[in-house]
Symmetry: C2
Subunit: 361 residues, 2 copies
Amino acid sequence: MRIGIIALLSLFILGCGEKPAETSAVAAEKQQNFKWKLVTTWPKNYPGLGSAPENFAKKVEAMSGGRLQVKVFGAGQLVPAFEVFDAVSQGTAQMGHGASYYWTGKSKATGFFTAVPFGLNAQEMNGWLHYGGGLELWRELYDQFNLIPFAGGSTGVQMAGWFNREINSMEDIKGLKMRIPGLGGDVITRAGGISVTMPGGELYTSMQTGVIDATEWVGPYNDLAFGFHQVAKYYYYPGWHEPGPILELIVNKDAYATLPADLKAIVETAARAVNQDMLDEYTARNNTALVELVETHGVDVRKLPDEVIAELSRLSDEVLAELATDSEIAQRIAESVAAFKQQAMAYHGISEEAYYNARNQ
Amino acid sequence: MRIGIIALLSLFILGCGEKPAETSAVAAEKQQNFKWKLVTTWPKNYPGLGSAPENFAKKVEAMSGGRLQVKVFGAGQLVPAFEVFDAVSQGTAQMGHGASYYWTGKSKATGFFTAVPFGLNAQEMNGWLHYGGGLELWRELYDQFNLIPFAGGSTGVQMAGWFNREINSMEDIKGLKMRIPGLGGDVITRAGGISVTMPGGELYTSMQTGVIDATEWVGPYNDLAFGFHQVAKYYYYPGWHEPGPILELIVNKDAYATLPADLKAIVETAARAVNQDMLDEYTARNNTALVELVETHGVDVRKLPDEVIAELSRLSDEVLAELATDSEIAQRIAESVAAFKQQAMAYHGISEEAYYNARNQ
């Protein structure tokens, strides 16, 4: 069949001495090329977090045959990390990759779509977003900012963090200077600690010099790379403040509207694929990094006492109850996620959780 | 395609019309349309399992602008369920959706890529497949059958099943007639039970008439639809035999080779998206189905005794050790998955598992 067309084309070209082009407006639209900018809140190619937007761009370019090219900018290359939201909202860039809880200054309700203390883990967040009404609420919230959000990856449950102070009771949280942003930080403050927000790049030196007593970051894969084991005495678990943080890919609504239907589908599906891919990467690489931390570097891995966990959980409920009063939509989101959590705890209690426990026997 | 040729012919006949057509052989190849058949081991549109291939087909068609159309056939519509593998291998259909452990008659090693007793859960299977070398081994194994496998969804950990006999000790497994296929069935046989294989459609009546004493199926979402609560006394957890079964999308190698690069990327990315989508669906719908089973139907949900879990785990190790001796590649796969499991148990012990336990306090 192809040979026939080429033969036909040859005849046509020989006859007219011209190179023919598109046949119709439809074909012209389908063939239109798009060059998009994607700004991120991570340094360019930061392991795990920063590879997701790169993978997204590669998948989109491959699937579209180059019709939609996405150029990824690390934090500060086009706009600073914390201007990603505004840049995409205003169309300076067509897309962004970051975390919704960076934008609580725009609306406190954004915090629900990354992670809340003692909330959903990654599997549950994905269930809630894609089959539990979560994504619809997220889109409703972001619509006023001219943005369409997609889930854009997860690290899995994060570690409680690196500490230079033993935590044996809630007394040890009092006066603790800990780098822990967001709602987790609010909980630490309520517990009598001092929550500090600072960029990842400053944490190593701040721990080393005693400017802070503790810091959470992500998990073994990223933490090993930062070398926190060299400047901290204890590595505490379980993470309670970010049990399954979901990152976001955000798209400027006007830019999205200009895409033909096939490229829209390509953006949506690439986001979904990247969303899983990041969790797969963290699952595999956290495993091997933990082995290195413990066996090569002799890290002292400790469990937070049950009493501390229970009290942090109680304080988290207070913080979330207050957050829900922020706006009408915050209230609806809080109710949606709380209802999902209640059911997920019941089912995962006899499935995933029960299986983990059974496998350890 | 035909329209393109007619347009071209019209132009040619008109002489040198001002709306010229395709410019090159490359463009002509890119515009080629493909109509593929996808055969499945499930009834057409079976909830969860059967919706994955439908979603895959929709995504591929949307992303390709209709250039790759995938028609989904339920079990028995084009070929019977258990001929899916051969049909795709031989090119009767270009694609299939099912579970690799249905094909242990071809090679026992296929069993590793769905689930093994006391093995990896869904999150861990995805980590192993995509960042732990699992997918490469799977593709090596399937290459001899002219097939390329992709992960094609997961139900999450499955329930231990429905029983009409109380399980208080291993004595109660002796003589138990249970529908449980695959490696789980081998374990039950070693424990003195009688493992039976029969299609899902026969299970309700078999339980009702006492032909079998117990059956596993999937989890609350699918089990509720089958009405097992009407014919069984107890619903046991945790599932131990299929902790995170991964389904498969298989593609005929020759058919895949005929696709241009963009359509290959579309197939691969759609598979990845569907792989996560199914787990999201099961996570959300198992939650709500469990509520209905317990609150509306008063189902008696019971935990298998620790002693039984420990003994089933020991017998599973025996079954897996035997499986590994089947072939050189089975040995390599067994070693790869065992190494991943060891690390995953260490890391998930202080992350996902520890978090589930902490949240319950």
